[in-house]
Amino acid sequence: MLKNIKKITLAESIREALVLSMKKNDNVILVGLGVDDPKGIFGTTKDIDKIFKKERVFDFPTAENAMTGISIGASLLGMKPVIVHQRVEFSLLSLEQIINQAAKWFFMNGGTKSVPLVIRLIIGRGWGQGPQHSQSLEAIFAHIPGLKVISLSTPYNAKGLLISSIEDKNPVIIFEHRWLHEIQGEVPKKYYKIPLGKAKVVKKGTDITLVSSSYMVIECLRSAKILKSYSIDVEVVDIQSLRPLDIQTIMNSVKKTKKAIIVDNGGINFGISSEIIARLYENFSNKEKSICKIERIGPPDNPIPSTRELAKYCYPNYLDIIKKTEKLLKKKFKNLEKYKDNIPLDQPNKDFMGPF
């Protein structure tokens, strides 16, 4: 491994982005319940309070709505608050501030002041977390003009996208899937940026395109690997930016492979995949419309149950993607069973034993 690159977890890469941003810009402050606690938000803010002055790592009362409004206020004086919610559900208490205020501030004040604010929202499944701690609500935010909505998937893009988000002058919502904090990847040590608003082809291929974001990118890559042994060459596109949506990159891939599965993290109804499918067809020629085949997968249309025996039906994985691929390509892959791993669906890794 090169000296200027190291292998770290996504949690560590987020932490690096935060530390580097705070070093570079005195106005960057961390805000959220537990940002300075011993667990440091799944490790992403761990011990940052020991590097910087106390006032820059701001534990907050359980008052999400005011926390957001207060951060907006601070941002108007040049501060760059980075808020974090340990569960996306908590942020619902602050949607008034996010949707009515932050998203529209620049516009409704005639371009006089924008709200440079980053809000990290942790999504995803977990150890029997149940209906109120396991939603993936990206679609709600992606619907709102004035927000930028980013979704992380690898340690590499986490660092670059978070740094860009902190440098951005607008309110940026960042989705972090709980299952990703512990995955490892190579990350440059330096301060680097990945532009917001761009999708990325994370694996090239010619037979079928998998379009996805956040944790589902990992499942897509897993299925791509397996499909390779069946001689299917999969292209995987990581959406990365849900708003603005880089439909062009997705489009280019789908026009090439003629087949696509849109793999949604959250509910598909009125979800992220709906918009992508709509845009694709809107941009297709008549011929493409009839030859391109597009399907989607996502959690079923119900709240997420706590019990693992039912939660397992709610998180499509690489096998489901492969089965969808079989259907789409009208093929039958033999001995798929052998690719079944035995990591239970409620553990991000084998060592994980709850409770959170």
Partner: protein, 323 residues
């Protein structure tokens, strides 16, 4: 403390100016060129003026839907305000915001939004940034009695108290939230000032129609907020003359009793102060007339300016989505 003649005249003039601007808006509203809601401040001018006269230019205010008086008292540009009401590109928000989004950064008017209570945390956040940046400036957050029912109001008090933020919370209690009397919304045993105290915030009730009381009390309080970096809450009872939203008098709807209306109409902060100033010879009738004339001239020009201004170009729709 005694108030000097020049300050007395200034206080009066400022109130009068706001009143005349508001009345002109009301009288021209039927022309249907100001095509946005207006929440007029007629009757509540003393609070805006009394508080803002004690604020420095760099001090900031945040306000809500009923923001004209605060905006003007803090030094916001009348031309830009009217431009905004007329939906013109010369407006303070280039016509994009409308009457409920007055902003003038030069004058320290930092936020006005019509979602009840929502600028209270934003003002608190500005005060927080001031503290973090070690600036000796303060924030005054104006809001109504209705806004004190929103959870975010309490959350903001809590945070301001916890971190000793230099902010003055100004509750203009006109006893109504749209058509609802306060007794339908808040227990008679509830008290906004006591609520502040229970969060560890000092508070004071002041007569919202007595300009000198407001001016003198807030002078002391603002000094304290600045020097000690502590939040403070003042509650001022007052009265809205016109309908909740719009240019008209709506007394005929009878949601406010005649007794109530008569009582309050006697307390007009401007008429009473004018009596006072005349009685004690601070101003003559003639001087007052002259003052009126001058203000009217300013208003006339500002309206002309707004009316003649251009509408914004379509491109603005896309230009200001992202900074």
């Amino acid at each position: 403390m005694k108030i000097s003649k020049s300050i007395k005249i200034k206080l009066f003039r400022e109130m009068l100016r706001i009143r005349l601007i508001e009345q002109t808006i009301a009288s021209k509203y039927h022309e249907a060129e100001m095509r946005c809601p207006v929440h007029l401040s007629v009757g509540q001018e003393a609070i805006a003026v009394g508080v803002c006269q004690n604020l420095k230019k760099n001090d900031k205010i945040v306000t809500a839907h009923r923001s004209h008086a605060h905006y003007l008292a803090k030094g916001g540009s009348i031309k830009k305000m009217l431009g905004e009401l007329y939906g013109k590109v010369t407006g303070c928000a280039k016509g994009l915001g409308g009457s409920m989004h007055l902003i003038d950064l030069n004058a320290g008017v930092f936020a006005a939004v019509p979602i009840v209570g929502s600028t209270i945390p934003i003002g608190t956040g500005i005060a927080w940034a001031n503290k973090l940046k070690k600036k000796k400036e303060i924030v005054a957050a104006f809001f109504g009695d209705g806004a004190t029912e929103e959870g975010v109001f309490f959350e903001s008090l809590d945070f301001a108290s916890l971190h000793d933020l230099p902010i003055l919370f100004v509750c203009e209690n006109n006893e109504y939230s749209v058509y609802s009397h306060i007794s339908k919304r808040q227990s008679s045993k509830r008290s906004i000032s006591k609520i502040a105290n229970s969060f560890g915030i000092e508070s004071l009730q002041i007569d919202g129609n007595n300009i000198e009381d407001i001016f003198l009390e807030t002078k002391k309080i603002i000094d304290k907020v600045k020097s000690k970096s502590k939040p403070f809450l003042i509650e001022l009872k007052t009265f809205r003359y016109l309908e909740h939203c719009g240019p008209n008098n709506d007394d005929k709807l009878n949601y406010r009793t005649n007794k109530y209306l008569n009582l309050w109409k006697k307390k007009c902060p401007i008429i009473n102060y004018q009596h006072h100033l005349k009685k004690y010879n601070y101003l003559t009738t003639k001087e007052i007339e002259k003052m009126n004339m001058k203000i009217r001239a300013e208003i006339f020009h500002a309206f002309n300016f707004a009316k003649k201004s251009k509408f914004p170009e379509k491109i603005l729709l896309k230009k200001y989505i992202y900074a």
